[in-house]
């Protein structure tokens, strides 16, 4: 057994026994990554914080099912992704759209303002602009350009066609370019 797998299993065993300190250790190791994912996928801090709590409460309830086949971080990431996507889907369903429409690519391609490539894109500006994208578009962009998934993987995760993933990511980039160029 690898040392990391051994330590994952030992930590999970302590959490299962109701050791709050152990679960805090687990939280501190993984909360940043999962919060970042939730924040960027959902586009606002309040929803991301609520969901982060649900993710960790759900993780605590499901620790019995952790067998160490995958790393603890991977197991948590999948669990978090499922919960985030449920949230995105239900919100999109309420808004009546899952694959949302932005303007045409050709209209978006007209950025107007200053060239982005001539200056460093400010992280806070980018986070803010991400929050202005429609849900489906933002989810595809975050998974592809931030999290580094391939279009096929994005399509599998979001339950959409690969072509739709490309279209959503591409529109998101154009829209971000426009938002960041003003």
């Amino acid at each position: 057994m690898s040392p990391s797998k051994e330590s994952d299993l030992a930590l999970v065993a302590r959490c299962r026994e109701g050791d709050l300190g152990a679960f805090e250790e687990l939280y501190k190791a993984h909360a940043g990554r999962l919060y970042s994912l939730a924040f960027r996928m959902l586009g606002n801090a309040a929803d991301a914080e609520d969901l982060l709590q649900e993710i960790f409460l759900s993780a605590h309830r499901k620790l019995e099912s952790f067998r160490g086949e995958a790393a603890l971080g991977t197991w948590l990431y999948r669990l978090a992704m499922n919960q985030i996507l449920d949230h995105v889907r239900s919100r999109a369903a309420r808004a009546g759209q899952l694959t949302d429409g932005l303007d045409d690519a050709s209209a978006l391609a007209d950025a107007g303002g200053h060239r982005l490539a001539d200056r460093a894109i400010d992280r806070i500006d980018l986070e803010r602009a991400l929050g202005e994208l429609p849900d489906g578009c933002r989810a595809a962009f975050v998974l592809h350009d931030v999290e580094g998934l391939e279009h096929k993987e994005v399509a599998d995760v979001l339950g959409i066609a690969e072509g739709t993933s490309k279209s959503q990511v591409h529109k998101a980039r154009l829209k971000l370019r426009k938002l960041l160029s003003v």
Partner: protein
């Protein structure tokens, strides 16, 4: 506007999925078309900036809420007296450090020229080192409980002192940042109130104490950050102030 038929090909180039023949054709076009080249450069800049986004820090109150709910659901096992002793000593040490840190924060403010602000309390009011008499001697459960009480008092004293400083100088922070700080303090205050109630209901619960201490520690930490922010704003050090705002 970029040449419409090339937009999709430029996107595929940025994706890294454009085949070699189409890529060569596009490169030829890009060499001649400023608009399309600008589009490619900008989309690459967006892609690279997205890939470089750093991990964010979860809000301070999140862990407290999770710990509180786990306890409400009865998923946290209260532990033996031996563990109570271990934790009580640790918390007392942390409380002592925080009280000293509160004094240091105040000292910086007092030394900084401050136009038209309310008078701050004297440094001596917070800088006194904590008593450790409660933990010397017999490490029994009673001694541990006494140490826990002492640590809690130290935390609460540090918070009162830090709040005085922060309130007296809050005008140095812009209203939007101040609103965020107030909101976060409100969340922590709520967690502290809930955890106090839990400690009152179960005075011997180590888990309840731990969570209360964590809430108190987070409040001290946020107040210390607030005071550091006030100091940086006073000095006109906007870069350092922005780092502190991003941290919170």
């Amino acid at each position: 506007m970029a040449c419409e038929r090339n937009i999709e090909r430029i996107q595929e180039l940025v994706d890294g999925t454009l085949g070699p023949i189409r890529r060569a054709e596009l490169e030829q076009h890009l060499a001649q078309c400023d608009t399309c080249r600008a589009l490619r450069d900008d989309l690459e800049a967006v892609r690279d900036a997205a890939a470089a986004l750093p991990q964010m820090r979860p809000p301070d109150g999140a862990w407290l809420q999770i710990a509180g709910r786990l306890r409400q659901e009865g998923r946290i096992r209260d532990t033996a007296a031996r563990r109570a002793e271990r934790w009580s000593y640790g918390w007392l040490a942390i409380a002592a450090t925080l009280v000293l840190a509160a004094g240091a924060s105040l000292l910086v403010l007092v030394r900084t020229p401050s136009p038209a602000t309310a008078p701050s309390p004297a440094p001596g009011a917070v800088a006194a080192p904590p008593s450790t008499t409660a933990v010397k001697g017999d490490p029994s459960v009673e001694a541990a409980q006494s140490a826990v009480d002492s640590a809690q008092q130290q935390f609460e004293k540090a918070i009162v002192d830090l709040e005085k400083i922060a309130r007296a100088n809050s005008g140095a922070i812009d209203p939007a940042t101040s609103a965020v700080i107030d909101k976060n303090l409100g969340i922590i205050d709520q967690a502290i109130a809930e955890n106090r109630a839990a400690v009152k209901a179960e005075p011997s619960s180590v888990a309840a104490r731990e969570t209360l201490f964590e809430a108190l520690r987070q409040k001290v930490s946020l107040l210390q950050d607030t005071i550091a922010l006030i100091n940086e704003m006073r000095r006109g050090n906007n870069a350092a102030a922005a780092q502190l705002v991003n941290k919170s």
